[in-house]
């Protein structure tokens, strides 16, 4: 009932509160508060709609996915230290496993989202939000096809005076493999590695200290940019698509961050190829 504290490699400490929500991360005796939640944007039902080509929600704010309290269960392997994970169920269509392996120095978020309910006739675009108390000066970094990290600033373009027409989507950028925020004062960088291309930004509701990543979308209207049908993938049973994805969260000193996230991106991109063949127990000794 008092929450838990898990220590990982290189001294990274992760704390969960009594509800099973991630609450604090400690790196080099520096403590940052952190929270993670799933929220959604409502798709517009009049005017120009969100669709395959554009992200244009009806309101410039998000809503929580869970209609009731999140349920969480802790699994800890006290004998070998192989498994330290929390299973979180936010709603019937959103669940997540947070893994902390004591032999690694990142926190893994393994989420399952879908089928997105649209019985209320409202399309939804689901984001996961990582909020911290880092001071990033309204600035964040996204990768350019896994190569250069590009500096992005809220409501700003480096080569022209930017007039805001789309307060939320005008600040969304492609995230091919990673997105990061830096607190220069604390000399800390939080990097989120993605397992696929996603849209990402700071949170419009908290421009400092937060990262939003769009993980799934289901929309009921065409955006009239050419595809001619709404972004409403049926999935295997016709009730909507389910996605399962992973984010890895790194918290490091700014100077150390690239040393960690560059090889990790390669490991995510080229995972070991696993195959199986039958065998009888006696063949172990023969082999």
């Amino acid at each position: 009932n008092e929450g838990i504290r898990i220590q990982m490699q290189d001294g990274l400490i992760v704390e969960f509160d009594s509800n099973g929500t991630i609450s604090t991360m400690i790196r080099n005796d520096q403590s940052i508060s952190i929270s993670n939640e799933f929220r959604f944007y409502r798709g517009a039902d009049i005017g120009r709609h969100s669709g395959a080509y554009i992200f244009r929600p009806s309101e410039q704010k998000t809503f929580p996915v869970n209609r009731k309290k999140m349920e969480a269960t802790l699994y800890i392997d006290r004998k070998f230290g192989i498994v330290q994970q929390v299973h979180q169920q936010f709603d019937s269509y959103v669940g997540q496993i947070i893994r902390m392996d004591e032999k690694t120095d990142y926190v893994e978020f393994d989420f399952v989202v879908g089928p997105i309910p649209v019985n209320d006739k409202i399309g939804k675009e689901i984001i996961t939000r990582y909020s911290t108390n880092l001071e990033n000066d309204e600035t964040f970094y996204t990768d350019a096809n896994g190569r250069q990290m590009l500096r992005r600033r809220w409501n700003y373009r480096p080569s022209w005076k930017y007039e805001i027409q789309e307060p939320v989507s005008g600040n969304y950028y492609p995230v091919n493999s990673r997105i990061a925020i830096r607190d220069v004062g604390k000399s800390l960088q939080m990097t989120i590695m993605t397992d696929r291309s996603q849209g990402g930004s700071l949170s419009p509701e908290q421009i400092n200290g937060s990262i939003d990543l769009m993980v799934h979308r289901r929309l009921l209207h065409d955006d009239y940019f050419g595809v001619g049908e709404p972004l409403n993938e049926p999935g295997v049973d016709g009730h909507g698509l389910v996605i399962r994805g992973r984010h890895l969260l790194l918290l490091d000193q700014v100077e150390q961050a690239a040393v960690k996230h560059r090889p990790l991106a390669q490991e995510m991109f080229m995972e070991p190829i696993i195959s199986f063949t039958p065998f009888q127990s006696s063949t172990i000794m023969n082999n």
């Binding site: 009932n1 008092e2 929450g3 969960f16 509160d17 009594s18 509800n19 099973g20 395959a52 080509y53 349920e71 969480a72 269960t73 802790l74 699994y75 800890i76 392997d77 004998k79 070998f80 192989i82 498994v83 994970q85 929390v86 299973h87 169920q89 959103v94 669940g95 496993i97 392996d101 032999k103 690694t104 399952v112 089928p115 940019f225 050419g226 595809v227 001619g228 049908e229 993938e233 999935g235 295997v236 049973d237 009730h239 389910v242 399962r244 390669q266 490991e267 070991p272 190829i273 696993i274 195959s275 199986f276 063949t277 039958p278 065998f279 009888q280 127990s281 172990i284 000794m285 082999n287």
Partner: protein
């Protein structure tokens, strides 16, 4: 060469702008998925041929598990022992890599390395939100989790999953969950 070319051609098609951005019509998306799946099947055939050359004494076809992303794998979840082959495609070695294999209740599992020595493993429940993914056809309700100490760069590591009906001294330890109730 022909088998790999099928994947080359599929990747060429996927460089069309609508596949890159995801702005293709739904029936086109289905076709792209079908094209990629067929190409991956051909590539698995190439991997099988490679293993056959490297290990001529092994006559069994390798089984692959494309549904491991939804914790489903017929090769591991039917209660039968399996050799596990792990190919590291990276140019650097992997250390303490964690592997998760879907398995079903009612059996005891042991993981051994290539020398036949048992290495620690645990069983963790697959959460309900994964088990109930529509279209997931699987009897697996647990994940067998273990660490592979070292996978050499561009190397093959072989492990053994030994399945028995009776508990063994080093069978995988089952982890119980504790609910947060704050």
């Amino acid at each position: 060469e022909m088998n790999i070319t099928r994947m080359r051609e599929a990747m060429g098609v996927m460089q069309h702008h609508d596949a890159v951005t995801g702005t293709e019509k739904q029936h086109v998306a289905f076709n792209y998925a079908k094209m990629l799946d067929a190409a991956m099947t051909q590539c698995r055939h190439v991997i099988n041929e490679s293993y056959r050359k490297l290990f001529p004494s092994q006559t069994e076809q390798h089984q692959f598990c494309p549904y491991l992303n939804i914790s489903s794998c017929p090769a591991t979840e039917m209660g039968e022992s399996r050799m596990i082959h792990l190919y590291n495609p990276l140019g650097h070695r992997l250390v303490n890599r964690t592997i998760r294999l879907p398995v079903k209740d009612g059996y005891y599992y042991q993981i051994r390395n290539q020398y036949g020595n048992t290495i620690p493993s645990v069983l963790v429940p697959i959460p309900e939100f994964v088990r109930k993914i529509p279209g997931r056809i699987s009897v697996a309700n647990k994940e067998l989790v273990f660490r592979v100490p070292i996978m050499e760069s561009l190397g093959i590591t072989t492990m053994y999953m030994d399945v028995t009906e009776k508990k063994q001294p080093y069978s995988a330890v089952e982890i119980e969950g504790e609910k947060f109730n704050g």
